[in-house]
Each structure stands twice: as structure tokens, then as C-alpha cells.
Symmetry: C2
């Protein structure tokens, strides 16, 4: 009786089903393993009849390629690590969604890391991600610890810094100038005739982009000879509640304020809702501007004037760059500016 095939696997059905491997598929299709590999990674290199037989074998056996093995031997993985401060924030989840939407079909997987606005944790994540031999790494933000910067610079990976523009990019930088955008918004307020303008931010000691927006606003006010020191800053993260509290606090502290620029739409939205509750006329008593372009701004009364940030587009562009550079490991610096826009509505 012929038992050769059965004997080749020590204990058949011992205690754990042996995983179906590419070898098994090859044997069943009557081809070499490498041909199976090619049929999967570059189908046109295999003739039609063989390809069909291989596909049948794969289906029959329920074969799933082992990524670890493939990536180990090819020395690169189709994995894209992305580090964002937090995922709960709509701004960052939009960026991730943009990236994800354009990479998933290409066989790439998103590896998600959250730094919680902590550069040390970002550093730890970068170190961990290096062990994945990814082709690219995406970090939201441009501020890194010394060690993190060194790791990113030394590596062969394509490094993409997202969302804000930086003077000295490590490699690829995709984003827009928060400073300029904030300045534009402040200019809008000045041109509308507002003269005593306050800025409200939250968590600015950790959220550098919010802090930069504050600077941009003050730049503009100074240039126009206006008071440029009315800044109200909260330690906590932005919430609707803080925005609601802030608008009252500003009007109490500086009663002659005629416009408030909030660091983001969450704060501004909370402020608008509070004004409506208290019957504070917007923009009659005080004008309100936000930053971000989140959906909440369309339903407030009045609708919120804001800066629409290209969140999804930034993620999308990052995906495009990753796909473009996948065969060109050469590092060359590149800055890609993605346009933002002012959305002037009734709150100013």
C-alpha cells in the first residue's frame, strides 16, 4: 500500500492541525513552490493553465499565505505604521481614514499607534515599528525627541511627517501652514472691522499646532497695531464644555472683546451653543471663529466661520506618496503643501 505521502508529515493530525503552506498548494497543483509564489504576487508571470490549477488548489486547501514568512524573506512588509496623538479626535481619524482608504486596496495594512501627545511615547512607538521593516512610516506632527529624530533619519524607510509644515523635514512633509491659516482668519476678522480680538486655546502646552495657530493670530493682530495679548489658555484637552466656559470667561475678563478666535471647532462649537443658550448675540455682541471645518459648524446657530483643514486629503496624499516611493528607496526631501480654505459663515 502506498503510504509515502502520509508518512512525510511525522504524526498526521497529531494534536494540532498543521498549517497549510505554499508547499502543500504546490504539491496539489503539481508545480514548484516558487511558481505558486509568483502566481500570487505577480500573476502575469505564470501561464494561464498553471495559474488556474494553482488557484483551484488554493481554494481547495483554504490556503492563506503567511505574511511573516513572506515579509521576512523579502525583507520588507506591506505595512504602514501611522502615529497620531489620539484616534478619538475627528481630525486625526479623518487623516487615518484618508490613508486607509487608499492603501487597503493596494494590499497594505495600517498599523495604528497613538502617542497621546507624548513625544517619549512617540519615540517608543517608532522604535517598535522599526522592527516591522516597513517600507514607510507616517507620523502626525513634526516635533520629535532627539532619539526619535535620529531613528527616523538613519532608517531606510520613507518617513512622512504629516499635517503641519516644518522647516527641516526629515524626508517627506505633507500639510499646510497652521500659522498662515490662523493669520488669514485673524485678517478676516480685522477686515470685518473687529478690533479687540481674543484667542482661546486648550492643551497648547502639548498640542503644538494649536500653539502655532495662536502665534499666527497674534502675528496678524500685531501687524495691524491691535491688542495682541488676549489669550485664554486651558490645560485640559478641548471639549465643548471648555469652549462654553471660555466664551463666558473671555467676556467677563475683557468685556470689550468683539471677536474670539478659537483654536479649534470643538471649542468654538461649544462657545456658540453656550451663546445661544444665554442669548448672547453672535456676531452682534461678539464674533466667533473656529479652526478645522468639522461638521458641527454647519448646524450651530449662527453657522460657524472656520478654517477648513485638508485632513482627509493629507492622508490621501500620504498614501499616494507611499505608493509612488515603494520602488525608489532613495531619500529625497520633499514638501507637499495641501491647500486649506477659509469658510466664512454667519458667526463673524
Amino acid at each position: 500500500m502506498p503510504v509515502s505521502e502520509e508518512l512525510s508529515h511525522s504524526a498526521p493530525q497529531s494534536h494540532e492541525r498543521r498549517r497549510v503552506t505554499m508547499q502543500d498548494v504546490a504539491r496539489r497543483a503539481g508545480v514548484g513552490t516558487i511558481t505558486v509564489s509568483r502566481a500570487l504576487s505577480d500573476p502575469q508571470k505564470v501561464s494561464a493553465p498553471l495559474r488556474a490549477r494553482i488557484e483551484d488548489a488554493i481554494r481547495d486547501l483554504g490556503y492563506v499565505p503567511n505574511r511573516m514568512a513572506g515579509w521576512l524573506s523579502s525583507r520588507r512588509s506591506r505595512v504602514v505604521p501611522i502615529i497620531v496623538p489620539v484616534i478619538q479626535n475627528a481630525v486625526f481619524s479623518d487623516v487615518v481614514e484618508g490613508l486607509n482608504d487608499h492603501l487597503l486596496d493596494q494590499g497594505y495594512q495600517i498599523l495604528l499607534g497613538t502617542s497621546n501627545y507624548d513625544p517619549r511615547r512617540e519615540e517608543a512607538l517608532i522604535a517598535a515599528f522599526l522592527g516591522w521593516t516597513p517600507q514607510s512610516i507616517v507620523v502626525l506632527g513634526t516635533e520629535h525627541t532627539e532619539a526619535a529624530r535620529r531613528m527616523l533619519t538613519d532608517t531606510e524607510m520613507t518617513v512622512i511627517e504629516l499635517f503641519e509644515l516644518v522647516d527641516a523635514p526629515i524626508e517627506i512633509n505633507i500639510g499646510f501652514s497652521h500659522r498662515q491659516a490662523a493669520r488669514d482668519m485673524a485678517l478676516h476678522l480685522v477686515e470685518r472691522g473687529y478690533r479687540t480680538i481674543a484667542f482661546v486655546g486648550a492643551f497648547m502646552h502639548r498640542d503644538r499646532r494649536a500653539e502655532i495657530r495662536c502665534r499666527g493670530c497674534m502675528d496678524c493682530l500685531r501687524e495691524h497695531g491691535l491688542i495682541a495679548d488676549r489669550v485664554l489658555s486651558y490645560e485640559e484637552r478641548s471639549t465643548l464644555d471648555i469652549g462654553a466656559h471660555a466664551i463666558c470667561a473671555v467676556l467677563e475678563k475683557w468685556p470689550d472683546t468683539d471677536a474670539v478666535f478659537f483654536a479649534n471647532d470643538v471649542l468654538a462649537g461649544g462657545a456658540l451653543m453656550e451663546c445661544q443658550r444665554r442669548g448672547i448675540a453672535v456676531p452682534g455682541r461678539v464674533a466667533i471663529a473656529g479652526f478645522g471645518g468639522l461638521p458641527i459648524g454647519t448646524r450651530t446657530t449662527p453657522e460657524l466661520t472656520t478654517v477648513v483643514s485638508p485632513r482627509y486629503q493629507v492622508g490621501e496624499m500620504a498614501a499616494r506618496v507611499i505608493l509612488e516611493t515603494k520602488d525608489a528607496p532613495r531619500k529625497k526631501k520633499r514638501v507637499i503643501e495641501v491647500p486649506y480654505s477659509l469658510l466664512i459663515r454667519q458667526s463673524t
Copy 2:
């Protein structure tokens, strides 16, 4: 002259820096590679002096362990794939955050997949994730294609179905009964004296949980002999705009409606904001209830009555189960119910 060491690596510094491997660390520390491996994965198995030498060598060489190699040989990876419908939705990003917060420190990484509410895409993602030989897989939702269900059942992985309760769990099921929660909320409305109650949902043909909530609501109305056919359903995804539109549409279509139960807080929030804009008294003219417990409900006027869903806790619990089962590959079914709560505020 002694050149043995140099010659061993063909072309030293050829065109690509050779990766630092565990071998290099071992050589530098003067130990075997396996000892380095142990020093990293289970430090207490290595004596203090050796451990110190190894740690120095790692630092000096900037060694980063190659995860692919490690996971290939150990036949398992410290990766947790999670499939959610979309990441932009605050509900799902909260779940992911809960999971992430409790796994990151343990050396696990989140692998994010989005199904876009499409069971076929979920199936493709599951197939792709199987190639990672993960120890566990997390899917948000309990509705799968036939093929997906088969894959999940056949695999050795711990399978965790999240967020809703299911009659026949594949393995672990963590969540709460949307039907019961919706019924509870409807009961609250009935007890408050509302008699003509409408339900508004969006995207219910794909979002089965929303549809289940609708059923729960109708259950209760029927039980109390009330009209149970006032359902307004939108094809699109939930937005504040749709909520705003819906409240007007309901009051126009069924003018005697005295309460509206929205499938989620986004819709309810939009409705509340619209009522405030139009001067529709809430709850005087019409009461409004939501579902979810999102922050927006705290800042509306009036504040929104809603069901607080245990989003973060569900993610947290999933992380706990993953850590618990990591050494017990035996499959046993388990249903973990995470409590929700009714938050009665001024809108009802």
C-alpha cells in the same frame, strides 16, 4: 594579518547597510544568540552580568529586533487585528481607543481594518488578517458572510465579536443588548407620558445595530398599545444635517407626534440644534431622545436624554480577554455583557 571577521560578510559596506541582527549583538556581548533572545523576551532567565552586557551591546549597536523573524519562528504574532465599520465614527474610535490603551503597554500592536459596513469587505479583511497568525482577532459587529463565519470558526485564533450581543457567538462576545437598551429608552418615554412616539434612523439597511434599536423601540410601543409604525428612515449615514431635517419631516408628516427617539446622538443632536434655531420647544412641543452618550448631548439646549453605551469599556474588556486567553488556546464560548445606562436629561 587577521581578516577572518571582515571577510565573513562578503562585501563590507557594499551598497546597503546590513541590518544589525541578534547575531551581531551576541558576538559583541560574547554570548550565544539564544541568550540575547532570552534577555529580551524573558529577562529573568538570564543572569544579571550577562544581561547587562547584552543591554550595552544592544544600545551600542542600535539593535532593533526583527518582528517578522521572531513571529515566524514562534508561529504567533503580538498583533491584534480589529475590524470596525469606519474609524471616523466617534463610537468606533472610542472602542479602538479602549482596546489600544490596554494593549500597547503589553507589547501588542493594533492592526486596523475598516469594513465600511460591507460584509464582503469584512470577509476580505479577515482573510488578509489570518495571514498574520495573530493570537486573536476582534470584529465589531456580529453579522458576517458565510465564508467569513467559516474562517472565524475554523481558525485557532481567539475570535471576539464586539459591541452587540449575539445568539450564537463564534467564541467570545462582548457588548450589550441594543434591543433592550432601546426598549428601556422607549419605556422611559412612555412613562413620562408621551403617547405618539416616532423613531428616526439612518443607514439602517447597513447598520444593523441601528435597525435593532428601532425594533426595540417598536417592541415597547406595541407592548403598551401605542402606535408603532412611525419610523422615518434615511438611506445616508447619520449626520447632524439629517437629524435637523428629520425632526422637521416628522413634525410635518405626523403633526401629533409628541416624542422622537433617534437611533443615535448625532441625529438627535442635529435635531435639537434645529429645534433651538426654529424655536420649537423641547420637550414642550416634542421630546427628543438619543442613543450613544456622545459629548454633544451635554451642550445642547436642552441637554439630551440618551443611552450611554459602554464604548470604551467594551474595547477595554476585549483587551483584558485577549491578555487572559493568550496562553489558553482552547476555544470556549463566552458572552460578556457590559452594562449601559440611561441618562435622563432635559430633552424629555
